[in-house]
């Protein structure tokens, strides 16, 4: 007979309380807003799923979502291969290891708004180092405050500069954990450089890369501060990503209902994409 003991609940209560206060309760207030309309004075009117319908049908939301997916897609397609390539090129031992690691870690230590401000000044067409160089030395026409393409290039390059290191460090950790015998065996088996990468390094990095991609997906999908400081969503709406649009609706227009509905949809998309990706990546792990 198993002894029935409910005392375990007592021990998980603190965690439940913590999660309740920092996630569940704030989230429920958002749910609350998303199904009601308010005109202030704490007066609420039941609205059902109208806000959700409105958001899902709105072209503005579709555009912001499209820009968001494009942004995330671009930075993943650049940062992941680039990060792996840099990790492969980094020395495994010797005095250069700490130098490389610290250099790699530096961009990640800079606060987001500082990164945005740095890149803003750096790329201003007439006074920024890069902006001036591109326009006046190379004679290109580059102005991220006027030209949507230039603005997009700038936010993507900024994110690559800021976050490729995360992929590098995780991939590097995966690489150094591969025992030397694997490389020696591959050498004896006459494996090519590509085969070593494909059959030894990549499989051994799979777990850390899964985590790296997940983190980069979530962070880039929810990114706000850097593009907000750099371009403010412009020129026009060309770099208005989902989060920037959401803040405009919630705090600019003070449309709490639609903003709440949009938040929940936003959250659901992030969650769904992460879950799908993780499930796909780990699906084959236990297959025979």
């Amino acid at each position: 007979m198993k002894t029935q003991n409910q005392r375990a609940w007592l021990f998980v209560t603190p965690v439940l309380l913590l999660v309740a206060f920092n996630a569940l309760i704030p989230m429920m207030t958002v749910v609350n807003y998303s199904v009601q309309e308010t005109f202030g004075d704490n007066l609420f009117f039941w609205q059902g799923l109208d806000w959700f319908e409105q958001v899902l049908r709105s072209e503005r939301f579709h555009n912001a979502l499209g820009r968001q997916f494009l942004f995330t897609f671009l930075i993943l397609i650049i940062e992941v291969p680039l990060g792996v390539a840099i990790a492969l090129a980094m020395p495994r031992k010797g005095p250069w290891v700490p130098v490389c690691l610290v250099t790699m870690a530096l961009p990640m230590l800079i606060p987001w708004n500082v990164v945005g401000a740095m890149w803003n000044i750096f790329t201003l067409p007439d006074i920024g180092l890069l902006g001036y160089f591109l326009n006046h030395t190379l004679g290109l026409s580059y102005d991220m405050t006027q030209d949507p393409i230039a603005a997009w290039v700038t936010i993507v390059v900024m994110d690559v500069w800021h976050w490729t290191s995360l992929v590098v460090l995780l991939a590097y950790a995966g690489l150094v954990s591969i025992p030397n015998a694997y490389y020696q065996a591959a050498e004896i088996d006459a494996a090519s450089r590509w085969a070593v990468f494909r059959y030894i390094q990549l499989p051994k990095m799979k777990t850390v890369l899964t985590i790296a991609i997940l983190l980069r997906f979530m962070d880039s999908f929810n990114i706000y501060t850097e593009p907000f400081v750099l371009t403010g969503g412009g020129p026009g709406n060309s770099t208005t990503l989902l989060s920037i649009d959401l803040v405009k609706i919630a705090l600019g227009q003070f449309d709490l209902g639609p903003a709440a509905a949009m938040s929940l949809i936003y959250f659901a998309i992030t969650l769904l994409a992460s879950w799908l990706f993780y499930t796909l990546m780990t699906m084959n792990d236990n297959k025979t």
Binding site: P179, A181, Y182, Q184, A185, E187, I188, D189, A190, A191, S192, A195, Y199, I200, P203, K204, N286, K287, T288
Partner: protein
Amino acid sequence: MAQIKLSNLRHSYTPDPKDDADYALKKIDLTWDDGGAYALLGPSGCGKSTLLNIISGLLVPSEGQILFDGKDVTALPPARRNIAQVFQFPVIYDTMSVYDNLAFPLRNRGRDEDLVRKRVTSIAEMLEVSDMLSTRAANLSPDNKQKISMGRGLVREDVNVVMFDEPLTVIDPHLKWKLRSKLKELHLRVKATMIYVTHDQTEALTFADQVVVMQEGEVVQIGSPVDLFERPAHTFVGHFIGSPGMNVLPCDVSDGAAFFAGERIALEGPAGVSGNGSAEIGIRPEFVSVSESGSGLAATVRKVADIGRHKVVEAVAHDRRIHAILEGEAPGAGETVNLQFMQSQTRLYKDGWLVSRPGEAA
């Protein structure tokens, strides 16, 4: 298949070695005959893995040459030496099936699929893994993974030598025995030269026809398991092989006879050299007998360990521990006994090296 000759081999991991202590391998001259089953035995850090990596080409020696059938391969990379090596921990390609793992070394060398299929099937059969060929290699148990690593070494039809670097370290004890006899069987079937590196004497003595014993970067003795047991060329071999190891007692030599704490000990034969240097008597516990009266070396029994088939008696004479292995009755702890050494098995060592020769008693 080839005869492998190591000539004047020295290796140091430091860029500019000054004295012998800087060398991981001091001076190795060795010939491995084609088709032999060798074991390379020695304690951890004695240079056996270094030697192995030099033969396989993973390391380039500081000095000396490696010859395969008289051809100098010192500068050739592993892939061009046509050797195989099995490592301490199983190396398998996780994402491939067992079949693809076994086929990998052949496919990399551009063999056609018909040959690949033939070789893989026959090796899988030998290793008894035929039913796992389509399994993903990552899901195998450690012993099967190690079998696949071995299989990758054996799958090529013409390897010069297959080297095993302590391959049973991660294998459960009850499977070790099985894999060991499997290896022996494989050697008889594929007839390739095999070198088996280990620090475990049982593994070495059961696998090999010839055992090479190494210590601190030097080869101390090469011989059959019986040679190593009966006539250790160095006290180190005496210690290292056998359980418990050889009794080694300091002695004085005068007039060709050995004296331990003033008592004359009869040797197997005349000592080869005389002169200065520390002399020691070596006698295996198997050849020490114990009696409660009569002649012999007086000693006090300190403890008796019953290890099943026989008993190990630890006695102390003149502050030196002497082990004896006895069948049947053994004296109790604290008793005073007399130890007799079998004369034909009593050897004399000088500076560690064997100097006595069998013959007329000295």
